[in-house]
């Protein structure tokens, strides 16, 4: 079980390293070596990361799904996924592909500007961007449902860009 898990993670790492090295600029070159952390050593033993960029996608919480980031943010009026989330979403897709019983709900949100039902549409468009990528990356359709709260459930109150960018998001909720 653990062996299979490792192989899948390794495959994911290879796929992401390929796309990651070309799409995702390293935000912080000094973060190299973050993977070498006591808690994660067992998982990464024997894992050759040569030629895999900075290796950031293997962090201390590698083994636990609950530690994966569950919120994805979007630019103004956009439902396109930022490149920085490629690796995170691959890991969620892997979780779903590895465990056919796992189910998630994608909760889309918009900032408060404009009309409420149209914002429901914008939130859903964001959920669907995430859903499509997860399906391409190996999740199956019956594992993913979507809901949009539009502007009804802001993560941050306030009518400024600071609040708006926290509110334009998709939250990934594991249902079981």
């Amino acid at each position: 079980m653990k062996f299979k898990h490792l192989i899948l993670m390794g495959l994911a790492a290879l796929i992401l390293a390929g796309c990651g090295s070309q799409n995702i600029p390293d935000p912080d070159p000094d973060s190299d070596g973050m993977m070498v952390d006591d808690g994660s050593m067992a998982d990464t033993d024997g894992f050759d990361d040569d030629g895999m960029g900075d290796g950031e996608f293997i962090d201390a919480e590698f083994g636990g799904d609950s530690e994966l980031t569950m919120v994805i943010y979007f630019d103004f009026d956009q439902s396109e996924l930022r490149a920085e989330y490629a690796d995170l979403l691959q890991r969620h897709a892997n979780n779903l592909a590895n465990d056919g019983r796992a189910q998630i709900r994608l909760e889309g949100h918009a900032d408060e500007r404009g009309s409420r039902e149209y914002n429901i549409g914008l939130g859903e468009r964001r959920s669907q961007s995430v859903r499509r990528l997860l399906l391409i990356q190996g999740a199956s359709a019956d594992q993913i449902s979507t809901v949009s709260f539009g502007e009804e459930r802001p993560a941050a109150f306030g009518s400024d860009e600071e609040a708006y960018q926290l509110n334009r998001r998709v939250e990934i909720k594991y249902l079981n």
Binding site: R105, E112, R113, G114, S115, R116, E117, Y118, I120, G121, L122, E124, R125, S127, Q128, R131, A141, S145, T146, V147, S148, F149, G150, E152, R153, P154, A155, A156, F157, G158, S159
Partner: protein
Amino acid sequence: MKDLLVRWLVVFALLVALTGTADAQLEFEITDFVGKRTPVAIVPFGFEGETPAAPFDIDDVIAADLNRSGRFRPIPETDMLQKPIASVDVDFDDWSILGVEAVVIGKITQTGANAFSVQFQAFDVFKREQLVGYRMPASRGTMRQVAHRAADMIYEKLTGIPGVFGTKVAYVSAEGSETARNFALIVSDMDGENQFTIMESTDPIMSPAWSPDSRQLAYVSFENGVSTIFVQTLRTGNRIKVSSRAGINGAPSFSPDGRKLVLTLGGVDGNLDIHILDLGTRELTRLTTNRAIDTEGTWSPDGQTIFFTSDRSGGPQVYRINVNGGSPERVTFEGSYNARPRLSPDGSKLALVTLDRGNYRVGVFDLEDQELLVLSVGQQDESPSFAPNSDSLIYATRQGRNGVLEMVSADGLVRQRLGSGRGDIREPVWSPFPRY
């Protein structure tokens, strides 16, 4: 299944009974007025009955209604040179001196333990003639309604426009922090009295819509984490789940005959399209298929056309489509953002949300001359709803962090703010005319 529904309805009725108490009231304040306010006199009504004083100040309510319209200025009682109760005692010269254009007199006569007769007469001071006179039965419980009805009749005689003082407003309030919020669907008289909570939830409630007979509200609830459209009967609290399909169930709006809802469904793939649901047969008809967001459908008063928001051309704009299908036709072209259309009850105008130099504002688009008039002055104004007389609109705006309601006359000359004193209030919907 049916058993479950019945049990559920009982639970819900109890919930309504517990929560359906009067809340803090909306407070009115005229914030903006351009133009002349006609001075009128509402003379204190006389009373004949078992008690020395009348059980209800009918004249106060009539005066407050006319004042709130923004078109009239009831003079203070202390300025009155006479306080006639019978028409024979009205001295038009006295009222001419005060510059008053209309005088209203009346009396309440007790006819039983909780039975009264309310009569009023309105006079034109210049023409020295009666404009309207009417007598209505009343009980202590219906006095307020009777007063609104009198105000509606007086307003119509003076302006030629039916009054809307007897109407109601439904709106949504949200209280609490980002992580713990309480949403409530509230119905109130237009003067802020008789406020009742129709439904409460820790999950969002959205998009209330009146049935044409004012007996029901359709709305979207996110209880259980997914969107569901309910139709709830106000008197009983019973509600029916009318749409809970996978994905989005949103933006319900009744047909003029009350038999159908136009609504938005997103499905598993999240392609929002306009659908019509027959509430009797449960038959569902898909009207649009475009991959863009199609939502916020609303019926034309003649029942033949659905107006809706679509971003098929890029940004959101208003389109219209025949209720029987066909290809949609674009309605708005001016500006980059025109959304959430609502027809005026006379069918001549569209209220909408428009992006006006960086601000989301309420506008009225004249369907005939194709002119857009921006009516609000905030930064985040939304959810306009026409009064049933087409003469004014109610919408939501911001006051600091909270939503408040504003009313504006369709010509933009009179504006009033309605604060609730609690929570963030939004999505006001003006009821149809009451059935007297």
